[in-house]
């Protein structure tokens, strides 16, 4: 259990800024997901926490202790690599015992702790087997066990689920979350999959182009994205953003969306805006203020996704499959509750 503080943390590779001025505090025992597309700086951040990479500027503190220059072996950090980095020439037992032996833990103690962790992760039946021939999900658990057995204060996971198939990924998401509750370690989880971040993390740090864009609980980043990138990145599909003009009137403010119509909003500022709403928050309404044409209908079991167009506007709507939907090419009239509308500045792309 360790608190991680990153202050003004940055890393350059020549002219390229991999991470710029990151300020983030990860609480003791917290599960934080670093979420972003590839190249956003999330792995760079992780590698600096682990000590594999030195920061260009700024500092990292564990429980107030400055970690700059502390070698990675001395940081007490457990790291689960994307490809697990299992020692395939050793047995499962030797893999699990590696950290304890390296740290000079006695033989009896090592055997006991390896036995315990193997029991916890259901690895006991294959302790004496060579790691080389094991299946991906066993390697996955072995990688976690190998790091967990030395009881690191901080646990770092680098896209641990990107190599496993979709069905197993769902199982592992639940598994990892429950493991974290048992280990009670501070966990930092790097992923580009917003679903993993949403389902597991206590808080999500959304990153792009080396910048930390927003930190918050999964619902905060979902409901109140700080900018258009977060709005589009979180959610499947992401938030709809339509360019419009905010106008004041006697009956309140409305956003003029041109071909798509007008929508009342609870705000006072005027001018050009990006009008954002979640596809899930589209309410079909024959008398609704917004109208777009159905371009495609995607039926995916319990839900139906409508691809909508009106002039230059493109949007998606997610409806449950019971709702009657118009056919392709027909107009679709709908409403969005004013409280669900998020407005963004088209210049800065920040939330208004």
């Amino acid at each position: 259990m360790t608190e991680i503080v990153m202050q003004n943390l940055g890393r350059d590779f020549g002219d390229f800024t991999a991470l710029a001025d990151m300020d983030l505090t990860i609480g003791s025992g917290e599960f934080v997901a670093l979420l972003g597309p590839s190249g956003c700086g999330k792995s760079t951040t992780m590698n600096m926490i682990a000590g594999m990479l030195d920061p260009s500027h700024g500092e990292i503190r564990f429980d107030g202790r400055n970690m700059n220059g502390v070698p990675m072996a001395k940081r007490g950090v457990g790291f689960v690599f994307q490809n697990y980095a299992i020692f395939t020439h050793m047995t499962v037992r030797d893999n699990l015992a590696y950290g304890l032996r390296a740290q000079g833990v006695g033989r009896a103690e090592t055997d006991r702790r390896v036995g315990d962790i193997a029991e916890l992760l259901q690895l006991t039946p294959m302790l004496e087997r060579k790691a080389a021939g094991l299946s991906v999900n066993i390697l996955q658990r072995l990688a976690i066990g190998r790091s967990a057995v030395v009881e690191p204060a901080i646990f770092l996971l680098d896209e641990p689920l990107s190599n496993v198939d979709a069905a197993f990924r769902a199982v592992m998401r639940a598994e990892l979350k429950s493991l974290q509750r048992q280990f009670r370690q501070t966990m930092v989880y790097v992923t580009h999959d917003q679903l993993e971040a949403m389902t597991m993390a206590d808080r999500i740090a959304v990153m792009d182009h080396g910048k930390l864009l927003q930190v918050g609980t999964p619902l905060e980043v979902y409901n109140h994205p700080a900018d258009t990138f977060v709005a589009r990145f979180i959610g499947a599909p992401g938030m709809n953003l339509l360019r419009g003009t905010l106008r004041g009137g006697d009956t309140g403010h409305t956003v003029d969306l041109g071909a798509a119509g007008h929508c009342p909003v609870p705000t006072r500022q005027g001018g050009e805006v990006l009008f954002g709403f979640r596809p899930e928050q589209v309410h079909p309404d024959a008398a609704g203020p917004l109208q777009m044409t159905v371009a495609t209908v995607e039926r995916i079991g319990a839900r139906t996704i409508l691809h909508l167009a009106a002039g230059e506007h493109r949007a998606k709507a997610v409806l449950d499959s019971e709702t009657p939907v118009p056919d392709q090419g027909e107009p679709f009239r709908f409403a969005v509750t004013p409280d669900d509308v998020r407005l963004f500045d088209p210049e800065t792309e920040r939330a208004i």
């Binding site: 594999m52 590696y98 259901q122």
Partner: protein, 314 residues
């Protein structure tokens, strides 16, 4: 969670998965298409061996004036092999070759490994030094022999350097003292072939997965523990290959030894290759030479077979 997929990471396609193309028709066509190459291989490998076996069973020599294919007129059965078993010069040459090998290969291995450790991480000037270290390997062995012949002259640079440190003139007769001559030839071999060992071992070391080494360090492993438990075991295959290559090559040392000492003084540096050369060129008893060559072929085949067996189990 108890479900297990059969999605083994390490699994490769089983032989059954590889499509068996066609039946006997296609097989026959394949045989015909590869026949020229197969015949060539048989001719290159098999013919000289059979010829050697044949000649080794006769007392044939080019001086007798009969062509080699009529060597059966001088048939002596296994007499050459009986002679070989009782030839002290052959056995001492064998023994000497083994000593040279027993010194050269471990020294080259340790030096090569040490250099590989130094060169596996980047440092300023690494590329230039790397190329420099590989130079000896590219020198023609006969030229290397000549260089060391010059270096080890009693008035040569080696003695000059020793004189400088000793503070008085040193005039060691390196190449005419039996023990020192062997030492000098071994030095030349180490100089020339350590780079090959270094090159192979470095390639092996670079291919050890970085993330596994990182994982070991993150788990608290010291440099030595990481080297011993991750790097070395993962280099096992390449180490076997490197050592096997050097053992086989060392068994055949000739050029530098011949030029530096001619096998002398006396027979002090006479390796098996030099012995064969002398018997071939000076005594012209080719039936006997064929017997020696076969004996060596058998020894080297055994060494190779052992190495291959090791590789299979690694």
């Amino acid at each position: 969670m108890t479900d297990m997929t059969t999605n083994d990471m390490g699994a490769t396609a089983s032989p059954q998965d590889a499509a068996v193309p066609g039946g006997s028709e296609e097989k026959r066509l394949g045989l015909w298409l590869t026949l020229p190459a197969q015949l060539l291989v048989i001719f290159i490998a098999l013919f000289p061996i059979l010829m050697q076996v044949y000649i080794s069973l006769t007392d044939w020599s080019p001086l007798d004036g009969i062509p080699w294919y009529r060597a059966y007129e001088l048939w002596i059965g296994l007499l050459n092999y009986a002679d070989l078993a009782n030839d002290p010069r052959f056995w001492s040459a064998m023994w000497r070759t083994c000593i040279v090998m027993a010194i050269c290969v471990p020294v080259q291995f340790l030096l090569g490994l040490g250099l590989a450790i130094l060169f596996v991480d980047d440092f300023p000037g690494r590329r230039v030094l790397y190329s420099t270290i590989l130079v000896p390997m590219m020198v023609v062995p006969a030229v290397a022999g000549y260089m060391f012949f010059m270096l080890f002259q009693s008035g040569g640079p080696v003695n000059d350097i020793l004189s400088f440190f000793a503070g008085r003139p040193v005039t060691i007769a390196w190449l005419s003292d039996p023990d020192l001559a062997l030492f000098a030839t071994i030095v030349s071999d180490i100089w020339q072939w350590t780079p090959l060992m270094f090159l192979i071992l470095l390639a092996g070391m670079v291919s050890v997965p970085q993330d596994q080494q990182m994982a070991a360090v993150l788990l608290g492993a010291s440099w030595w523990r990481r080297f011993r438990t991750i790097v070395l075991p993962r280099m096992k295959t390449i180490i076997i290959i490197a050592v096997a290559i050097r053992v086989i090559e060392n068994f055949k040392v000739f050029d530098n030894f011949y030029i530096m000492t001619g096998g002398g003084p006396g027979v002090a540096t006479e390796t098996i290759s030099i012995y064969i050369y002398k018997v071939t060129q000076q005594e012209l008893i080719w039936g006997y030479v064929a017997a020696i060559a076969l004996a060596i072929l058998i020894v080297l085949s055994v060494v190779s077979a052992l190495a291959i067996k090791k590789l299979r189990s690694a």
